[in-house]
């Protein structure tokens, strides 16, 4: 018995220490974002004993382009996620119900390439191509690219969800004379709704966080939040307050999301690891 309780104590200690390590940077970012300069650049650091201020956020929202950038991020995230979900669920259904069809091997290879290749290898030629077609600095280009880079995850995840749906249900619908399309929309999609939600959340996270594509493909017009956040270190004089405020604003929706949708998340997060 003694041994077991020792193991428990160790496990608790490990979990508590690592939870602290996971949360502290978040606390520290937030606390820096509501400090005045005199409370920021001091040693020993001030954890709680300071006068909070909203100054850093005010200066952030005073930046004229900021609302535009935030809206860009939201718009690109939502539309590209929808696109990946629509095209991804159609493909995933084919993957789940047919082991072989024309072009499957190449499609598989392309999806793996997306997962394995550094995005720069693909984005570099895209940058060159986009100048021919006048597609540089457009949010529609970003939407298309995000969807392309994320659709493999959608397909892998949704395939595993569709696999869980027993074929007997389709059999019954088939007897009733349902066509493929009707069956897909009226029978399969509603049954896979939890899977669609989980996939959608996971993919919107990927889109929200994406940096390499917009840093190359977006100018002032299509700029997204991560590019804006990154621009805080381009000047030599690092001002921690606004930096922390910008980081907080980028991470806040995600933290809110994790609190509310725990159970959908875990499925999505391990996706792309074990594929079908």
């Amino acid at each position: 018995m003694k041994k077991i309780s020792l193991g428990r104590i160790l496990a608790y200690a490990l979990l508590i220490i690592s939870s602290f390590a996971s949360l502290f940077p978040l606390f520290w970012t937030f606390s820096t974002s509501i400090k005045n300069r005199i409370d920021t650049y001091v040693l020993p650091p001030k954890f709680f004993n300071f006068q909070p201020t909203t100054k850093n956020y005010v200066s952030l929202f005073k930046i004229k382009t900021f609302p535009h950038i935030y809206l860009n991020s939201i718009f690109v995230t939502i539309i590209s996620t929808l696109l990946s979900l629509i095209l991804g669920s159609l493909s995933a259904y084919a993957f789940a119900r047919r082991s072989k069809f024309r072009g499957r091997t190449l499609l598989d290879a392309l999806m793996i390439a997306v997962r394995a290749l550094p995005a720069i290898v693909v984005v570099l030629p895209i940058y060159k191509l986009s100048s021919y077609f006048g597609m540089y600095d457009s949010i529609w280009t970003l939407i298309l690219l995000y969807a392309g880079f994320n659709i493999p995850f959608a397909i892998w995840l949704l395939t595993s969800f569709f696999n869980q749906i027993p074929t007997e249900i389709e059999e019954a619908a088939r007897v009733d004379g349902a066509s493929n399309t009707r069956m897909f929309i009226q029978v399969i999609l509603p049954l896979a709704a939890p899977g669609l939600v989980a996939t959608g959340i996971f993919i919107s996270l990927l889109s929200w966080n994406e940096f390499l594509i917009p840093v190359i493909m977006a100018g002032e017009n299509a700029k997204t939040l991560p590019v804006f956040v990154a621009s805080f270190i381009s000047n030599k004089n690092l001002d921690w307050g606004p930096m922390a405020a910008a980081a907080t604003v980028a991470m806040l929706p995600i933290v809110a999301l994790t609190v509310f949708i725990q159970r959908w998340l875990v499925t999505g997060l391990s996706s792309g690891a074990v594929k079908d």
Binding site: V122, I151, N180, N209
Partner: protein, 297 residues
Amino acid sequence: MGLVRTSKRKHRQLTRPIGHYTLGAWLLLALTILIPLLYGIYISLLDINLASFLPPQFIGFKNYTTVLQASETWATLRITIALMALGMTIQIPCGILLALALHQQLRGTKIFRSILITPMLLTPVAVGLTYRFMFDTDLGIINWFLGKFGIESINWLGSQTSGLMAIVIVDSWQSIPFVMLLVLAALSAISTSLFEAATVDGASSRQIFRLITIPLITPTLLVIVMIKIMDFLKLFDTIFMLTRGGPGNATTTIGLWTYKTGFVFLELSRAAALGVMILIITMPVYFLWRKSTRNVR
């Protein structure tokens, strides 16, 4: 994801051809991945420089010989491999330990799990910004904390060794949860009757771990290694935010070097050649990954 796989033959009787359902995905991937890849191979044979106004010339494999002879190519490749090795030796054991702790189903496991996965969801660029001021030499909280233990201030982002350490620390903060989740899934898939039987037979907990747990999670560990190799090749945001690959090129990985060649030195064709090389380097990883995932189910 432990899923029941229904028999393929049954599907075939049931469904009419639906291969064309993949057309949309096909079109999207062709447009965003396949065509750019092919075009990338094409421009790697030209001499495009973004600063030059001369029409591009076809120069064959000259970019490749230049790239292969450049010391930066090999230096950045070595740095990438060093990061991989360092990162995996930290992340995989930590991920396993945390998974084992969570797997004990102690009270509060769900809350701990929620807290622990939070870092992996956050925007890497914002995380980099946060650590950027936490790593500050004079006023950063990390050096202050280490100072409590008598460790002198480290110029984290100012040298190769400490810079790579800093990158690995930040990346580990974000990717240990991923390893943890995958190992946790593998642990949960092991039938409890196996453990019970072993306990009845008088096996010690150490024996159980060594003879049952480890062999049964090994396929998952292989998958994790493959994914980590791919992810370290892809690692960009964190390095970009923390060190920009500096000082000099001391923390530049091959991916970041490709970016610099193309968008800092404006040698687009040479960068494309580097890209094709990365494609070739990662080729074996694809196959190993596909093989390793097959064993997991």
